[in-house]
Amino acid sequence: MADDGGRPAAGRDGWRAAAAQGLYAYGLIVRMWVRSTLAYRASFVMMAVGNFAACALDFVAILLMFSRIDALGGFSLPEVAFLYGTSGLSLGLADLLLGSMDRLGRRVRDGTLDVLLLRPAPVFAQVAADRFALRRLGRISQALLVLGWSVTRLEVDWTVGRVLLVVLMAVCGTAIFGAVFTTGAAFQFWAQDAAEVQNSFTYGGNALLQYPPTVFAKDLVRGVTFVVPLAFVNWLPALRLLGRPDPLGLPGWVDFLGPAVAALMCAGAALAWRYGLRGYRSTGS
């Protein structure tokens, strides 16, 4: 995914070299932004706390709900907290790593993407690292707190396998959200306002995944499973972990398709990105 679109390097070695180059450049640019962020420490702390608080409000809403009811769609508070934490963690990680990609549209429109194409690094890495926002650790830490709390309260026997499953969920979920960020960015090569659509899938999707699938209409759940397969971020694996039946009644092995779905989405996103970049036409001045 770190390779340049439509500008095929020679074979597999080229891919590997481009990936290494991309990671290197990503690291450089991220370090630079982190350093300049930390130069204004007070402002950074305020931003991070603000980010944390904004996300925490979501969870406060859930807590308030549970002060009046015992279960939501048949799910207890720790169970909902588990969904909330896993989804928030995945989105938070993807947001931290790739969240700046929604600025691509502006770069395409005003032609400043030209400059990135002059540097000896894949454009994807440069766009992803641009304005790396450390404050997004706020969302991640908040999600981790909620997840940690839910894990201690759930009546689940935490075997090594189950713990690994949670880790795998977070990784696949991050990849799935990352693929959505990337696909959204690729669309900005044609429609520079596509960032809004992409945000509705990422941040909007997260708002959905925080709640149990049982509270939503079946058609919506189907859409989130088959069309934009966000359900693989946490719903399907979490249902298995919590020993809940799947509202769509899908066969059990579907729950384990997360890694395959994530890989497929990343491949699709990479293709879209390459195609979009190939069509980049700069501006007249």
Binding site: D4, R7, S36, V115, L118, R119, P120, S285
Partner: protein
């Protein structure tokens, strides 16, 4: 057209039949939108040998920037063949990037929010420039471009001229083999312009850096380049020595004669015509390719001649002449409706 580099076994820049066609949508009527093709670069061919400094000029919208964007890998050509040091820019953009330096007068390649020094540091790491090379190059640029007081200033706070100097330095830190300069003197005052020209000349002389320079200030060209390429409507209309422009442009020279007294306009001198009369002084123009001697003889034979002087056409008016010629005839065919004149 001349092709001074045609015999070079391996020119550093090798462009053959290069094309770029933009498809644009234009409103036609209230709802209808028609697709149109803009042939920004329409089949140009040239070679530049290592170490040469070439001026690339043409009127607004001629296709200069589009050419440079293809040479650097920013744009993928619609047709033709392109090699820089044997590298195809569209296929191996990042490999090429290490070997070229680019300055866009209109746009900075520096990091907007970073102090100049930090931008350079990032360039050093990204291009993996060896420490010794980096230090030497930076010291040189800082000295020759007067950057010392600017190093701690964020790029967004630099004035245009300061930023331009900062950009030029950034483009040269990694010892590029080719330097593309797209309007590097735009908006600069005379002193800054002179400084930039001097610096480019030195880089070319000392490092043997090949330079392709785009500008609307012909003084840049006159002071830096012996070879000039003129592009108009996406086509090369001239490629050769700067001196050769005169012949190519059918420029006219002017003979200014002072007669003994006021007389009617000089008439009947073959090849020349009188364009202005002011008292005893008269102005005659004749084709630049023609020799002045027979003309002077012819005038002296029939008129009481006191003094005379000869004026060469300046480059400015020659270029204007070339541009004007290009504008007639080619314009209607340039924007073709979709379907016709499809890209190769």
């Amino acid at each position: 057209m001349t092709d001074p580099a045609g015999t070079d076994p391996e020119p550093l820049i090798d462009v053959r039949g290069l094309e770029k066609v933009f498809t644009v949508r234009r409103k036609a009527g209230r709802l209808r939108r028609v697709r149109e093709e803009v042939r920004a670069v329409d089949g140009i061919t040239f070679q530049v040998p290592r170490g040469e400094m070439v001026g690339y000029i043409g009127p607004n919208g001629a296709g200069k920037s589009t050419t440079i964007k293809m040479l650097t890998g920013i744009l993928v050509p619609s047709g033709g063949r392109l090699r820089i040091a044997g590298i195809d820019p569209a296929r191996e953009r990042t490999r090429l990037a290490r070997r070229i330096g680019v300055v866009f007068g209109q746009r900075t390649t520096l990091w907007w929010d970073l102090p100049l020094a930090d931008s350079y540091e990032l360039v050093r790491r990204m291009y993996r420039i060896p420490d010794a090379v980096y230090r030497a190059n930076l010291a040189r640029c800082v000295e020759l471009l007067d950057l010392a007081p600017l190093l701690a200033v964020p790029v967004r706070q630099l004035s245009l001229g300061q930023r331009m100097r900062g950009d030029i330095a950034a483009a040269l830190l990694h010892d590029p083999e080719v330097l593309y300069l797209d309007e590097p003197t735009i908006g600069l005052d005379v002193i800054s312009k002179a400084k930039v020209r001097e610096f480019v000349r030195e880089v070319n002389a000392e490092r043997g850096t090949t330079v392709l320079l785009t500008t609307h200030d012909l003084t840049d060209i006159e002071q830096l380049c012996r070879r000039v390429m003129v592009i108009d409507h996406g086509r090369l209309v001239y490629d050769g020595a700067l001196d050769g422009l005169r012949a190519a442009a059918d420029g006219e020279r002017t003979l200014v004669v002072d007669l003994e007294r006021e007389l009617p306009p000089i008439d009947g001198v073959p090849g020349a015509r009188t364009v202005r009369v002011e008292g005893p002084r008269q102005w005659l123009v004749f084709p630049a390719a023609q020799s002045a001697a027979p003309l002077v003889t012819a005038v002296a034979e029939r008129y009481p001649l006191v003094d005379l002087s000869l004026r060469e056409p300046d480059v400015e008016s020659l270029i204007a002449e070339l541009y004007a010629r290009g504008a007639t005839g080619t314009e209607p065919g340039r924007r073709t409706p979709d379907g016709q004149g499809a890209p190769a």
